[in-house]
Subunit: 286 residues, 2 copies
């Protein structure tokens, strides 16, 4: 079995790394991580830097907040790229800019290292129950090599295409989810102000073309005014920024996405950044 170095033990990364250990992998983590103790208790070993970790392992997986953190850990001083050798595999499961993924892919390729972008969806629950959706960009052979590891962390695992294609797909997911939440929020606010029973409306609309998982789950959250995350507005805003930058670089007009991102910025400014993204509904209340 391949030896894995796992970097990024946050709400998502910690249960993902624990699932790799449960699946029988030898996992190592960085000494600097706040959650290193929890992982060593479960059997992980410790490394001092991404560089030494990359020297000692076959596969390096990162699960970090955003592009700058990934660039720092991978390309920075004592970064992964300094320790990784030809024949090893680098897998980034963070949600970052497709352009950054492609850049890292090329730099790894130059060293003879395969890289995959493999962002996930499914949230904390998906991470804990090893049922994440994993959208992968990269080489099919590298994908097959990573597949047993992905299966220890997720269920709906698809090789979408070229390097960066996983990140592009994730950005599209976040665009659709964000705009669908905004749609449900506008409709529910209008209905509430008109005195319509929201629960009855939700049920009828779920039977027609307006049906969506968002109308079902986030519609319920809105009706119950339960905005405990779930997925935080501030993180969704970061993902929409990635989508908007990607759209801009491709010359694609994304007015709807920009409008939702702007609502999210206002929500963050009002101190609602830690709320579930369904709390976009609150931005429309009088």
């Amino acid at each position: 079995m391949e030896k894995i170095g796992f970097i990024g033990l946050g709400i998502m990364g910690k249960p993902m790394a624990l699932n790799l250990i449960k699946a029988g992998y030898e996992v190592s983590v960085l000494a600097s991580s706040k959650e290193a103790q929890a992982l060593t208790d479960a059997g992980a070993t410790i490394h001092e830097s991404p560089k030494t970790m990359a020297e000692a392992n076959d596969v390096i997986i990162t699960m970090l907040p955003d592009s700058p953190q990934v660039e720092d850990i991978v390309l920075g001083a004592n970064g992964v790229i300094e320790g990784i050798d030809a024949g090893k595999l680098y897998v980034d499961m963070s949600t970052i800019a497709p352009s950054t993924s492609k850049d890292i892919y090329q730099k790894m390729k130059d060293k003879g290292v395969e890289a995959l972008d493999a962002p996930v969806s499914g949230g904390q629950v998906g991470a804990e129950t090893a049922s994440l959706s994993i959208m992968v960009g990269g080489n099919p052979v590298a994908f097959e090599r990573a597949l047993p590891m992905f299966k220890a962390m997720g269920k709906n695992i698809v090789l979408i295409g070229e390097p960066g294609a996983g990140q592009t797909t994730k950005a599209c997911n976040q665009v659709i989810v964000g705009m669908t939440i905004q749609a449900v929020a506008e409709a529910f606010t209008m209905a509430k102000e008109a005195g319509v029973d929201l629960e009855k409306m939700r049920e009828v609309l779920l039977g027609g073309f307006a049906q969506s998982r968002i109308l079902d789950l986030h519609g319920k959250r809105i009706i119950e005014e339960n905005f405990k995350p779930g997925f935080k507005i501030k993180l969704h805003k970061k993902d929409l920024d990635i989508a908007l930058k990607t759209g801009e670089s491709l010359g694609v007009s994304m007015e709807g996405t920009a409008q939702v991102a702007s609502q999210m910025t206002k929500a963050i400014e009002q101190g609602k950044g830690e709320f579930d993204h369904s709390a976009l509904y609150l931005m429309l209340q009088k």
Copy 2:
């Protein structure tokens, strides 16, 4: 069985009236209708005006393009209201402004006539196969009276609430559908420009939070670039105008809806008003 006068024999109204005849109802239509012959061939009788039709029938159903046509037929010279008597029932199945529905409800009420607003969703196919969703506003007793007729035309039939509540729910349906199409259109355009396989992306996204009937059906239309309606952009634009006016009258901010309506206006100006609403995708292409 109650005698029904049916006004508005368009793409939707004609099969709905035929389904009432099939269910055994005695149906009459207006002599002025282009499709009167098709209905009389099926057994319908003819009346010269909405007034005489209302005098001779127990229930009047209208299925017209927009609020002004409904107001004209119901409240205009020789209109339904001049011929209808206490104890009869008026059912409007058009998609019109909730405020117009409430106004007509009140005017009918003043004459001792019950009125229901009962807009539908499901399109031409739903009308032809008697499988429309019907969202109803009005009095529960009037709803029970109309239910056998609704069952001859539809399947998912729900009394939502007070007069106007059916129209408000339909407006909400159109808001959610419009914004979800825009979401899928922006995401698919970005993915296409980035070189991502749209069919693979659609399949992965259908497994997660981005899932919607729109991503499924309209996503498929977009991939196949099949923009034969379906539901025309110009009609959806009319419905979003109703939603925007309703939102304005309630003091509800509907920026996302306004943005989609503006895209639809541009599409109509470019001669795409007769295309299926999934053709919003075309507005984003370079």
